[in-house]
């Protein structure tokens, strides 16, 4: 059932792509590439730590939704390696354009988890200042953020800045026209973009084989740049490959498409009921590839994992979850008049008048 990347690995068609040479037929970093990449134990421990914290926050998101404190929660379990690995692979000066499920990227970019959660509480359409975190807002209209990232990357190129841009999306998003247009623009303008497909096998209830004709990674060749399918549950592979792709982009070598194979363990969102379209048996084989267990194993192999470390991370995760909850629940409801303030940078007088009338009607006392 589990697609093990098969024989026709995308790198076959790009023998000249040194990044493709970093992974084996299973999409895993080769021992040789791991040595060459020289990722320190501290970095790997940090990746583990972030994944573990995000998993705990994800659980807290589910709790909060069940308790009626969130309107919606979109679980990320299964995506930790792809999101943490990719986000941490980007330089601080790089930009990230996330899709709605990229919560772990958000956290990796330093957004306070409790503030990030206000989005799911229905308090705001955008919980952070993109310039502060070099992180675009969460985008719901599927696929539409992909050409934003390309436009931003073209801008970086025009500014002669060595900035790379990461954009996240699901495999369902690759069916949209915008995704294709963006890939083609990226190819034509040789834009410094790393496209990260978090292929979790499902778009709500639609399985990959009914969604994607061919393979996502193979599509890059048709746009004149390389694409690579990797094991998206191995954080070291994701980190190393995305870092190399971002370096490449920063050096003016153009776009790169990474298809990170992974799985969505939970429901699509808390509104979804996955029992209607898949069984536990479908999920089971993917559990064996769980990203946190695999990062643990990698650290153990290096002799860099201890019970103390595990406990410390668990404690930090617990603390972060509590703090997140506290911050979320104390976040103020926006003044309804704020909706008018946010429409324009330079609002026309007529809108300000409409706002004044609106506010006056809500609060009869406040009207002049």
């Amino acid at each position: 059932m589990v697609d093990t990347l098969g024989a026709r690995a995308a790198h076959d068609s790009h023998p000249a792509d040194p990044i493709a040479a970093m992974v084996n037929a299973d999409g895993l970093l080769t021992a040789e590439a791991e040595r060459a990449a020289n990722i320190s134990d501290d970095v790997l421990r940090d990746l583990y730590r972030r994944m573990a914290i995000c998993r705990r926050l994800d659980q807290e998101g589910l709790n909060l939704q069940r308790q009626g404190e969130l309107g919606l929660w979109g679980p990320i379990a299964g995506h930790e390696a792809a999101q943490v690995g990719a986000a941490m692979a980007m330089a601080e000066t790089d930009w990230i354009f996330p899709y709605y499920r990229d919560f772990a990227m958000t956290i990796c970019r330093g957004v306070d988890p409790g503030i990030a959660m206000t989005w799911f509480r229905g308090l705001t359409h955008g919980a952070w200042n993109p310039y502060e975190h070099r992180l675009g807002p969460l985008i719901i209209s599927v696929g539409t953020q992909v050409p934003h990232a390309v436009g931003f990357a073209i801008g970086c190129k025009l500014d002669h800045e060595p900035t790379a841009v990461l954009v996240g999306f699901g495999e369902g998003s690759t069916s949209t026209g915008d995704w294709h247009e963006a890939m083609n623009f990226a190819g034509v303008f040789k834009a410094p973009v790393v496209f990260l497909c978090e292929n979790n096998q499902w778009a709500i209830s639609v399985p990959m084989r009914e969604q994607v004709a061919g393979r996502v990674a193979d599509r890059a060749a048709g746009y004149g740049f390389p694409g690579l399918r990797i094991d998206g549950s191995d954080v070291l592979t994701v980190y190393t490959v995305v870092r190399a792709a971002a370096d490449r982009a920063r050096h003016g070598e153009g776009p790169y498409l990474v298809e990170a194979l992974t799985y969505r363990f939970q429901a699509h969102t808390t509104s979804d009921d996955p029992t209607r379209y898949r069984t536990d048996a479908d999920v089971e084989p993917w559990r064996a590839k769980d990203s946190i267990a695999r990062a643990t194993a990698r650290l153990r192999d290096r002799g860099a994992f201890s019970d103390d470390f595990e406990r410390a991370v668990a404690a930090e995760a617990e603390e972060t979850a509590l703090a997140m909850r506290a911050t979320l629940l104390s976040a103020a409801t926006p003044h309804p008049g704020q909706a008018f303030d946010l429409v324009f940078a330079n609002p026309p007088a007529s809108l300000l008048r409409e706002q004044a009338e609106f506010v006056a009607e809500l609060e009869p006392g406040s009207a002049e």
Binding site: L72, I140, S141, V142, V206, S271, V343, F358
Partner: protein
């Protein structure tokens, strides 16, 4: 007679259409296995098979476009857009092709297709899931646009829409999916171009559709307690507008309030108010009032209710017409 929800009534309408007409196809994102995110297509794939009820890739433009191709081939496609704002990627196919293909082929190709779009707010959702896109479709010549407010209307309008040889944008008021009604099915199909007086009255007319009919009825009920008799008209058809029914009502009551969730600015209330005040200039006792959302992007869930019409805001508007 059973009590069923609007969602179920729509489900039954699809089921009966699939059963009665072998050319009917139902498709869209998640309509198959899942039965749609609102379960409107629940059980249909199991009953009619994967060839007649199928999931598609996530691509609204082509979901609309294959309706064109399938209609040329003599099928009667019923496509679902998952939420209001997700019909926008299909805008060009709907506007430039679905609406114009009959004209373009000199009448040779009928576009017997229905695009179902759950719309409207009040469900506490994140961005893009609560919009009222009717203006966009209503202004596009070549489309018929209808919306039900009750389970019975949902059934009757959807059956009629599927049977009609022309493209119909079928707007489903999603906050009303769980509303219930006692109903004998199959209910009769309804005309696609007629409004309905859902509550008679003499002192003013409230014109509503889809999600706001309930709001209008609540307002009329409250007004009755205060001695005012308000007529409520449910448009049912947004394009064309049934101006005969609207005019007759307002000619009688001399006052009108139009209520919708869409922003007032260029909402359907604009056309109705312009027509009524034009045609009944000497009859009206007061200008036509409009109640709708503000000129802002749909606000976050925690404040949405402040922007949506409620009975109070409707009654204030009625009062303005009565105290004019």
């Amino acid at each position: 007679m059973t009590t069923i929800t609007m969602g179920k009534a729509l489900n039954e309408a699809l089921r009966d259409a699939l059963r009665d007409d072998p050319r009917v196809l139902v498709y869209g994102e998640d309509v198959g296995r899942l039965g749609g995110v609102f379960r409107v297509t629940d059980g249909l794939r199991a009953e009619f098979g994967e060839e007649r009820v199928f999931d598609t890739p996530l691509a609204e433009s082509t979901i609309a476009a294959i309706a064109v191709g399938l209609a040329i081939k003599g099928f009667h496609p019923v496509a679902e857009m998952q939420f209001d704002a997700f019909s926008y990627p299909a805008f060009n196919q709907i506007t430039s092709n679905l609406a114009k293909y009959h004209t373009r082929t000199q009448g040779a190709c009928n576009m017997q297709a229905v695009i179902r779009i759950p719309y409207g707010g009040n469900i506490g959702a994140v961005e893009h899931h609560s919009e009222s896109p009717e203006t966009y479709y209503v202004h596009t010549a070549g489309l018929k646009v209808v919306t039900p407010s009750t389970p019975a209307d949902a059934y009757g309008l959807l059956r009629a829409a599927i049977a009609d040889p022309d493209p119909v944008i079928f707007l489903e008021p999603k906050a009303r999916y769980w509303s219930r009604q006692d109903l004998d099915l199959p209910a009769p199909p309804l005309p696609l171009d007629r409004a309905q007086i859902v509550r008679p009255g003499t002192d003013g007319t409230i014109i509503a559709y889809g999600p706001t009919v309930q709001v209008a009825l609540a307002a009329a009920e409250a007004a009755e307690a205060e001695g005012a008799s308000l007529e409520v008209v449910d448009l049912r058809s947004l394009s064309p507008l049934d101006l005969d029914t609207l005019s007759a009502s307002v000619r009688k009551t001399k006052r009108a309030v139009v209520v919708h969730e869409a922003p007032v600015f260029m909402g359907i209330g604009a056309e109705i108010a312009a027509r009524l005040m034009h045609d009944l200039f000497d009859v009206l006792a007061a200008p036509v009032e409009r109640v709708g959302s503000a000129t802002v992007p749909y606000p976050p869930a925690r404040v949405e209710k402040l922007f949506l019409p409620d009975a109070d805001r409707v009654l204030e508007a009625v009062d303005r017409t009565r105290q004019y």
